[in-house]
Symmetry: C2
């Protein structure tokens, strides 16, 4: 691999107010880029000023969606350290997504070096504020200028950084969920386990319909029987039923979330029973009837923990935990963000210190 | 709508040899472009020299695949007319795809004007040669620089032109097909009926695996039971069984192909029984056993008619029509291309003359 080339920006941007960040609207001064060709493999890694990229209009990504991405966050701890949260998990998953999309895999250490150097250069973009962080978006796109339907012979890998606030404007606050019965996000034999554009493209319409009906997110059911819970919005989903926490098992159509994995590990370490299995909507309705559906929440890098206050399924409207954030949801949120921000002990070795 | 602005190229490219075109590898001298914003709607239609487009690396199309496209062909008839084949069908389908992907619809007459003006300007790019044509690729991409998962507020519509030869290097010639049992292309409640990047992204891996095993294309089965035939490669599929032609009904996960529609109309006009319904693999195997599976072929704009010479399903290998192009397949190919190229009477009104 070539050594990393760095070109610094001569025109630093003005930074947005930490109180008005939103999600993914602002981008830092630099970006990381690397190219792939059949002849050279991944080559020419560089950090350069953030700016537009030029692509041929026939570039395959515009037509056949050969694309994968990741989402991570960088934090500055109270003692001034720059840290990432379990980046090894993201790099591993990126390569798993590549495999599904027929994209050549990336040497994790090369990409991690690119990401850490980029963060060091743009460290001043890590926003202050308790719920703020620097969101890291690595992604790979097929760039070959050709309209044949096949794997591209050239790719571009990029990493861009965005100072973000809470994913939901309301912060950690229970959201109302619409259980989707018409549209399906992913399916056995499809790309649901990969972090790729396709899964999100298919979800936008349902998400819009839900918003228009006053719901924040969609709860996705399985594509075969439309009976079993899969994900919520672009997050994994958990339910606390009669003291036990359950989450859909990784079936091939569900993303293996890093926050999902962290939640399961924490619950186990706390001695709380947790099981990964099929979760039928009917089971949840039954538990709700008996007063045993105690909490529900989504998990993801962007929102960390997103409590679910109510679910609308056909004619049924299930209110959960009186519309308040559950104790366990709050404890998980506080623990994970506490570890991420260096306020809590990192006994599980999840913090990755940059330099 | 603003009037069409035209900027001609000062550097015309050298044209490729008509005998060495391949598919979608060369592009003409100009392209059509139009922008969308919430404030202005679709605006600023223009024809300009073909060349790279610049997009922010956070442009939504790179991350969440909000994209739709179309495929059409322009021909020059023996008497020198420029013609399209049923462009109204493509424009209608483009808007149906837009609806599924939450992309704002386009006024068909505006787009058709853009396409026809572009073709007139680049008419010299229509290649000579019986199986050659000028492929037309309209597409729309989400361009808003933002990482939130939602519909973009800005879009770019483009039309590019590519002189193409036969989609398959072997021309109209029976191909061997691998019946896919592991991967699924599309599914009920997904985007299978839309012409959008997602469906193709999900297909590339299966296609590559099939190629490595010596098969040209994948035959897709339904995502729920893995029993019923859906499409072949990126084409619709037809079977002639005991004198009757059957094709999978449009179920929501199958593309409503323009060639598919044309084939059905021709068969009806010829008095050949044709039915659109579920087609189980087991039914085809049974028909094959009895010697009644007479022909099989794919249909699509790129290949028009692509005969299927054999199908591999698990341990079974079904040879169809002795590996030769069937009579009906050939007649359909000759009729459709004859109409497209002005050699046959256009009693169904499918030719659209430019100017």
């Amino acid at each position: 691999m070539d050594s990393l080339h760095i070109e610094l920006s001569q025109n630093l941007k003005q930074k947005p107010e930490p109180s008005a960040l939103g999600f993914g609207q602002y981008f830092s001064d630099h970006m990381f880029m690397m190219e792939y060709s059949l002849e050279k493999g991944w080559h020419d890694p560089k950090i350069m000023p953030y700016g537009p990229i030029a692509l041929d209009p026939s570039a395959m990504v515009f037509h056949y969606g050969q694309e994968v991405f990741e989402g991570m966050k960088a934090y500055r701890t109270a003692i001034g350290e720059l840290v990432l949260f379990r980046p090894d998990m993201n790099l591993k998953r990126l390569n798993e997504s590549c495999e599904r999309l027929s994209i050549p895999q990336v040497e994790p250490s090369t990409l991690l070096q690119g990401i850490t150097e980029l963060i060091k250069i743009d460290a001043s973009w890590i926003p202050s504020g308790e719920e703020n962080a620097l969101y890291i978006r690595p992604f790979i796109i097929a760039t070959e200028p050709c309209l044949g339907v096949r794997a591209s012979h050239t790719y571009k890998l990029m990493v861009i950084l965005s100072p973000v606030g809470s994913y939901y404007p309301e912060g950690i606050h229970p959201v109302s969920i619409y259980v989707e019965q018409r549209y399906v996000r992913a399916f056995r034999g499809g790309t649901g386990a990969a972090k790729t554009a396709s899964n999100y493209a298919a979800s936008i319409k349902a998400q819009e319909d839900a918003k228009q009906s006053g719901y924040s997110q969609v709860l996705w059911l399985d594509g075969v029987e439309s009976k079993y819970v899969e994900e919520v919005g672009s997050m994994n989903v958990f339910f606390k039923v009669n003291g036990e926490v359950i989450t859909p098992a990784l079936s091939g159509s569900i993303l293996a979330g890093v926050t999902r994995d962290s939640v399961i590990a924490l619950l186990k370490s706390w001695g709380i029973p947790v099981s990964e299995r099929k979760v039928a909507m009917e089971e949840l309705v039954e538990a709700h009837k008996q007063g045993l559906l105690e909490e529900a929440f989504g998990t993801g890098t962007a929102a960390v923990i997103s409590p679910i206050g109510s679910m609308k399924w056909g004619e049924l409207e299930l209110s959960i935990g009186g519309g308040k954030t559950g104790k366990l949801s709050k404890k998980l949120y506080d623990t994970i963000t506490g570890i991420q921000r260096g306020q809590l002990d990192d006994s599980l070795g999840w913090r990755y210190r940059i330099e």
